[in-house]
């Protein structure tokens, strides 16, 4: 990973408001400090093993046959390609689950990014009666634990499902479809709205006024000026939501019944139940670990590409504390 390249102050120009963390702190160290530094780096290298070895173990175990999964060898004694078995499991369409997760995640992230930007821009730029009241409402919803709205939301989708079944000319939406997993994203999300509003507030107002002078409508000003300038905040929103959907187990558990509709985390959970020893399986752990690797790798790829935005996004969250 090209992490060191991202550290230079040059990256600061791409996104003015957040990249403080990426800059090296201005510290001059004496020669005595040098020896100390070597000690700290050695210590960190040791700790890194603790943080990374589970992944190394997972990759290694994914290429071992059933009776060697737990031998804890770094290099498999017998090399076993378990992925044909994983992708060919009866009643466990792993490839479909992977595609379902990708499609739901992308759609949900696109929706929440665009709509949240629209709302965030309205709160940041426009002056209108009721703004403070509405913004207070928005902040209040951020504190709300999800469980309080979970059950009635489920019932809404259940009723929608009944209704669309009775009226066959309507597309079937409701429980046991994938709609409940991404449609709510198209109503924006308080957390991202707050994050992006902070970003929009950092953009000089004159830029927008100038566009208005040029005869832009409000919406085209938003699209032509605000969105391009807010790109770092939009990317942070997008990857955070991709991650949230890729992690989510509870919503798919609640809404999906048909195996073909499952997302990858739910699919891997059923594989664990079926092949693990806990649920009465035979302990075919080579399948479980290989499937778990398939669940883990896409996030690693996304992180490798967008590393800077993950770190900046998290650091910004803390700064508003």
């Amino acid at each position: 990973m090209s992490s060191t390249e991202n550290l230079g102050p040059a990256t600061g120009s791409a996104s003015a408001p957040i990249p403080q963390v990426l800059r090296e702190p201005p510290r001059a160290r004496s020669a005595a400090g040098g020896a100390k530094k070597v000690f700290w780096i050695a210590l960190l290298a040791g700790l890194s093993v603790l943080f990374l070895y589970p992944f190394v173990w997972l990759i290694s175990a994914s290429f071992k046959p059933q009776d060697e999964v737990f031998d804890n060898r770094l290099i498999p004694r017998t090399f076993s390609w378990n992925f044909d078995e994983v992708f060919g499991l009866p009643d466990a369409p792993v490839l479909s689950w992977l595609l379902n997760s990708l499609w739901i995640g992308t759609l949900a992230a696109l929706g929440v990014t665009f709509v949240s930007a629209l709302v965030a821009f309205a709160f940041a730029y426009f002056r209108f009666p009721g703004r403070n009241l509405l913004f207070a409402l928005l902040l209040a919803t951020m504190m709300l634990p999800p469980q309080v709205t979970l059950i009635p939301t489920y019932l809404i989708w259940n009723e929608l499902g009944k209704f669309t079944t009775e009226h066959a000319w309507l597309p079937h939406i409701g429980v046991n479809t994938q709609y409940p997993l991404w449609v709510p994203n198209f109503f924006g999300s308080a957390f991202y709205i707050f994050l992006q509003r902070q970003f929009f507030l950092g953009i000089p107002r004159e830029l927008f006024e100038a566009a208005r002078m040029d005869g832009d409508s409000y919406f085209s000003m938003f699209r032509r000026i605000a969105l391009p300038l807010a790109k770092p905040a939009l990317i942070v929103t997008f990857i955070f939501e991709i991650q949230a959907k890729w992690f989510d187990l509870m919503s798919p558990l609640i809404y999906l019944r048909d195996q073909a509709l499952f997302t990858l985390p739910l699919g891997i959970k059923t594989i664990l139940d079926r092949f693990g020893t806990g649920g009465g399986g035979e302990g075919e752990w080579q399948i479980i670990v290989a499937a778990t690797l398939i669940l883990t790798l896409p996030m690693v790829v996304i992180f490798a590409i967008f590393q800077r935005y993950f770190i900046e996004g998290i650091a910004t969250q803390g700064r508003k504390g």
Partner: protein, 326 residues
């Protein structure tokens, strides 16, 4: 509603209310409302509406028969709420959740702060380590739970094998009730990266002159840590304290994945891993006791709010905001 609030109670000159309303003659106002519309609809239909419905359901017998329309929905008064205080499983789930949170939050904060402080003093090399320590954070919880089961397996797991090397007989982490929560805590601390990045950013914001001034005054390293570092990064500490506490109270995925099989009766699931959010989920979507589960959700909500308010009140004495109170 708004008209009552502004014209009725505002003691100021009447022109203020008029000015407020004259805003609705502006095109800008209507454009703004159009921009806000998706969120506002969501607020009504996905937040406010469901909250009211949830409060209502918590006083009814709503369940699988009522969903299907076989039996009418009837009021049960405060029975569910009384049941909350008499149900052994609720007490167990609450205890599990509190114990886990009480271990996880301080452990995460301490480890994150130690790592961040080391990273903040090694300069350029910090980047690569920051990446390494962040990586567990991008592990999907379901995958983390699988890793928990395999690495912490009492007989063949890597953790106990490694402990054997140094002469320690490791416990049966995933089956011994008294070690299930500690292993879940270790799993949480493993993904300490996000908290660490927040602290690192806060540490970089501490003006270097403060340390220099303290050093000139002869302050020891411990004094500099206690009287400069901690107060200066206290907003970040406070923020993560609240976020981690709420995350602890809502813990679900790792423990559910590792110990609760879909469709299983739960009889074979260890009591030690029964967190409140898991029990709520089972009551709602496995047993379909939606009325009781709604009451459970409100109890969790009240507990979360109470704890957060206590944290806010207590921390007001300790948190120091640079540039004055926000």
């Amino acid at each position: 509603m708004a008209s009552v609030a502004t014209s009725g109670t505002a003691p100021g000159p009447p022109s203020r209310a008029r000015r407020w309303f004259s805003g609705f003659r502006e095109r800008e106002t209507w454009t703004a409302y159009a921009f806000l519309a998706p969120w506002f609809l969501g607020f009504i239909f996905l937040t406010a509406g469901p909250m009211i419905a949830s409060a209502y359901l918590s006083f009814t017998n709503y369940g699988i028969e009522q969903i299907a329309g076989f039996s009418p929905t009837e009021s049960v008064g405060t029975e569910h709420y009384r049941q909350l205080f008499n149900d052994d499983k609720i007490r167990l789930a609450l205890k599990n959740t509190f114990v886990f949170t009480l271990m996880m939050v301080p452990a995460t904060m301490v480890v994150a702060l130690v790592l961040a402080m080391i990273l903040s003093r090694i300069g350029r090399a910090a980047g690569i380590f920051r990446t390494i320590f962040y990586i567990p954070q991008i592990t999907p919880p379901v995958a983390a739970a699988v890793l928990l089961l395999v690495l912490f397996n009492g007989q063949v797991g890597l953790v106990n094998r490694a402990l054997e090397l140094v002469g320690i007989q490791g416990p049966f982490w995933t089956t011994d009730p008294s070690w299930i929560k500690p292993s879940l805590v270790i799993l949480s601390v493993w993904s300490v990266g996000g908290t660490m990045v927040i602290y690192l950013a806060a540490l970089h914001g501490v003006p270097q002159q403060l340390y220099e001034a303290a050093a000139i005054d002869g302050a020891s390293a411990w004094r500099r840590f206690r009287d400069v570092t901690i107060p200066m990064i206290s907003p970040a500490l406070f923020f993560t304290f609240i976020i981690l506490t709420l995350a602890g109270l809502n813990s679900f995925t790792e423990a559910y994945t590792a110990y609760f099989g879909a469709g299983s009766t739960g009889a074979d699931s260890p009591d030690a891993a029964l967190f409140y959010a898991i029990y709520l989920f089972r009551q709602a979507f496995e047993f379909f006791n939606l009325g009781f589960a709604s009451a459970m959700a409100w109890l969790l909500f009240l507990i979360s709010i109470t704890i957060t308010l206590i944290q806010v009140t207590v921390s007001r004495r300790f948190v120091f905001y640079q540039g004055g109170q926000k």
